[in-house]
């Protein structure tokens, strides 16, 4: 009598059941000329800077799916804890889920220790998780916050390496943004100066990189206060043509005026209807 194979208790977490099937499908599909759908990425410009009293984080708001803009106004600055925020570049789902998991873990940790969470803790948790998955989780993050030891800024790469620096940029537009930082960064800037610098760095990424675009989001974190400014600046407005006469409504009205189509002839046929039966059905409103 045939016996069923006894199932072991299934583990949670990632399931690799379909990997072989997927690789076979991919090779078959490429033979026919059809391509497998790609994950939504946030080809991005994100950056952060340490100023006198805290941190300014900045991000653009475009999410791409191959060569198409998937989301014109996505939010890339994720909440980790009341005093720590994290910008995410790379695969959109990966950054979203990773930051949410770390946020939950930090909250549990803070409840268990009874203290405000530190940025170094979040950094350590993120790098250990990303290293565990050997770079298959495509999340490049800029982590910044203010804790009891002052303001801290980290950049975290998908394979799990981290850097602690006074100014960092990540994403496809990182080179453009870094150029702005390298030119104008000074230690101990004021808040307005730092916000202007981050705005200019993200704008450099938006205008010079195809993967970044739309608006500029800023997040200013100081001791005891967080300013989440979304959007700080709308660098690309939809429907307004750049550089033509101001004050003239350039977005067309696509409705046609009455009389655009000429009426050639008009025939009216009155329909003779006779009343056959009239009944009243009362509604049951009890």
């Amino acid at each position: 009598m045939a016996t069923l194979a006894v199932r072991r208790a299934p583990l949670g977490g990632f399931s690799f059941e379909n990997c072989k099937r997927n690789s076979i499908l991919e090779s078959e599909a490429s033979k026919v000329g059809f391509s497998v759908p790609t994950a939504r990425k946030t080809g991005t410009t994100i950056c952060g800077v340490v100023f006198k009293d805290g941190i300014v984080l900045g991000a653009d708001t475009r999410a791409t799916e191959g060569m198409v803009v998937a989301d014109k106004n996505c939010s890339k600055i994720h909440y980790i804890s009341p005093n720590i925020y994290c910008c995410g570049a790379g695969t959109a789902a990966d950054t979203e889920m990773t930051t949410q998991i770390i946020s939950s873990n930090l909250e549990l940790h803070a409840l268990s220790t009874g203290r405000q969470p530190r940025v170094a803790t979040a950094n350590r948790m993120l790098k250990q998780m990303l290293f565990r998955y050997q770079g298959y989780i495509g999340a490049a993050l800029v982590l910044g916050g203010v804790d009891c030891n002052g303001p801290h800024l980290y950049s975290i790469y998908p394979h799990g390496s981290t850097d602690k620096l006074p100014y960092v940029t990540m994403g496809s537009g990182s080179l453009a943004a870094m150029a702005v930082f390298e030119d104008r960064y000074k230690t101990g800037m004021e808040e307005e100066e730092a916000k202007q610098l981050v705005r200019d760095a993200i704008a450099a990424g938006i205008f010079n990189d195809l993967g970044s675009g739309s608006n500029i989001d800023l997040c200013v974190i100081t001791k005891g206060n967080v300013d989440y400014i979304r959007p700080h600046d709308e660098a690309n407005k939809k429907g307004v043509r750049h550089g033509e006469l101001e004050g003239v409504q350039l977005t067309g009205d696509y409705r046609y005026k009455r009389g655009t189509t000429a009426v050639l002839s008009k025939v009216v046929n009155p329909l003779d209807l006779e009343l056959l039966e009239e009944t009243v059905q009362t509604m049951d409103t009890s």
């Binding site: 045939a2 016996t3 069923l4 194979a5 006894v6 199932r7 208790a9 299934p10 583990l11 949670g12 977490g13 990632f14 399931s15 690799f16 059941e17 379909n18 990997c19 072989k20 099937r21 690789s23 076979i24 889920m97 998991i101 939950s104 873990n105 549990l108 940790h109 409840l111 268990s112 998780m129 565990r132 998955y133 050997q134 298959y136």
Partner: protein, 129 residues
Amino acid sequence: IVPVAGLCPQGSYGIQDSLRSGFTSVKNELLPSHPLELSEKNFVLNQDKMNFSTLRNIQGLHAPLKLQMEYRAARQIQRLPFLQSSNLALDTLRGSDDTIGFEDILSDPAQSETMGEPHMMVEYKLGLL
């Protein structure tokens, strides 16, 4: 890429499930389907081993020995073989009761669509099979 035993056909009746795992080939049975598959399968085990060996180096032999005894006891507190147990005592001992990871969010075993055949699994557990 090191070939590993234990990746034999995983469909029911011990036969290769062609729809999910593709056609049978020696390569399929020996090599893992994803580089992370093996490391993920053994992650908790390896983490425990590492923690125990660190503890042994710091505090001597008795500490990990006693803890392992407690782990063994906690592992025996289970529901019936085909039901999902919470493993609360084991989680508390390990310290993973106040952490959350992908294993809690993705493919939660408590919500899997399939269930082991109850009679088979109880017989297997009791050694009657």
